[in-house]
């Protein structure tokens, strides 16, 4: 089976569109995780990959189509990382910025709601830092990579 040049060009454009769409979609609808990605998220991501397969390759099993589609994805991925390296402001805009979760012993409920983080998840992250109450925390920040940085209250203020 030999794919024609028009098909190969179409596959290249399709692959680029799908990749850009997924990046945008994950940014808009997806979220950063607090702690570990759970099994439902993993299944969703793998299913996502399969859901767009035909949209990228036009259902073609030809080697040429596969190679072109893969090359487009790899080259675009490389371009994005170069772009973010040169323009940190774009990186902040598209990858998100750190978010305040606890300030001076108080949970910032508004940010918890916006990021869809449950109190259970915050309490687990605190325990993993050896703390049990938000009141022991001066500052907790949800980082871009999904981890929670915790700055405890100064020792004398601990309850």
């Amino acid at each position: 089976m030999h794919a024609s040049d028009a098909v190969v060009l179409a596959v290249a454009i399709r692959s680029a569109v799908v990749l850009l769409f997924l990046c945008l979609g994950l940014r808009l609808i997806g979220r950063r995780q607090l702690g570990q990605v759970n099994v439902y998220d993993l299944a969703m991501i793998l299913a996502l990959g399969n859901a767009v397969q035909n949209a990228m390759t036009k259902g073609s099993g030809s080697l040429r189509v596969g190679a072109v589609s893969a090359a487009v994805v790899i080259v675009l991925g490389r371009l994005f990382s170069l772009l973010f390296l040169r323009r940190p402001d774009l990186e902040e805009r598209y990858l998100g910025s750190p978010i305040l979760i606890i300030s001076k012993g108080e949970l910032v409920q508004e940010n918890l709601r916006r990021e869809h983080i449950s109190t259970d998840q915050v309490m687990m992250a605190l325990r993993q830092h050896g703390l049990v109450r938000p009141s022991q925390v001066k500052l907790a920040v949800l980082e871009i990579d999904g981890s929670l940085s915790v700055v405890p209250m100064p020792e004398e203020k601990k309850q």
Partner: protein, 180 residues
């Protein structure tokens, strides 16, 4: 050549076709969530290589069920959007409802309080006292009486809150693999 390629890129299913793809994708997503819940492996940390293979194969096995013979660009985008929206709904539901969250990802279990091991809970969770001691040593504690609380977390790690002293995070996982 370019015009033929562009015509292909803008190919799309009709409205009914798009609705069918979206509906089938939603059903597949719900099925995967329920299926994985029944399987009982909730956190990636608990998974071994075979579980991972199972999930990858699972995702492949549902591909045709989601998009079927639709090879248009828009068909794939409709399916992907459906998956993203469903995942988002699940996340929102879990952050709003503690019951749903605890049912889907489990709940943390207190296993040590005020220097006392809670042996009945350890037994129920399949964690041995030796494993708890290993977690304490990772936190540079040698005796249970140095510990205020220890909690078996939903990701399988043990959190240790000492009565006093500095904190280190546990990296080893102690919760056993369990089916069902």
């Amino acid at each position: 050549m370019l015009s033929r390629a562009l015509a292909d890129v803008f190919s799309h299913p009709d409205l009914l076709g798009a609705l069918v793809v979206s509906g089938k994708t939603a059903v597949v997503y719900l099925f995967l969530v329920v299926g994985l819940r029944v399987l009982g492996k909730r956190e990636l940390g608990q998974m071994n290589l075979y579980d991972l293979v199972l999930i990858v194969v699972l995702a492949n096995s549902v591909q045709n069920a989601m998009v079927g013979s639709d090879t248009t660009l828009l068909g794939g985008i409709v399916s992907a959007t459906t998956l993203l929206v469903m995942n988002r709904l699940l996340v929102v539901l879990m952050s709003r409802s503690r019951i749903v969250e605890r049912h889907l990802v489990g709940e943390p279990v207190l296993i040590l309080r005020n220097g006392q091991l809670l042996r009945d809970r350890l037994k129920r969770e399949g964690v041995t006292p030796d494993q708890v001691m290993a977690a304490l040593r990772e936190h540079e504690l040698a005796r249970v009486d140095q510990v205020a609380i220890a909690v078996l977390e939903v990701d399988g790690t043990i959190s240790v809150v000492p009565k006093e002293a500095t904190i280190h995070r546990t990296h080893r996982r102690f919760r056993q693999l369990r089916m069902g």
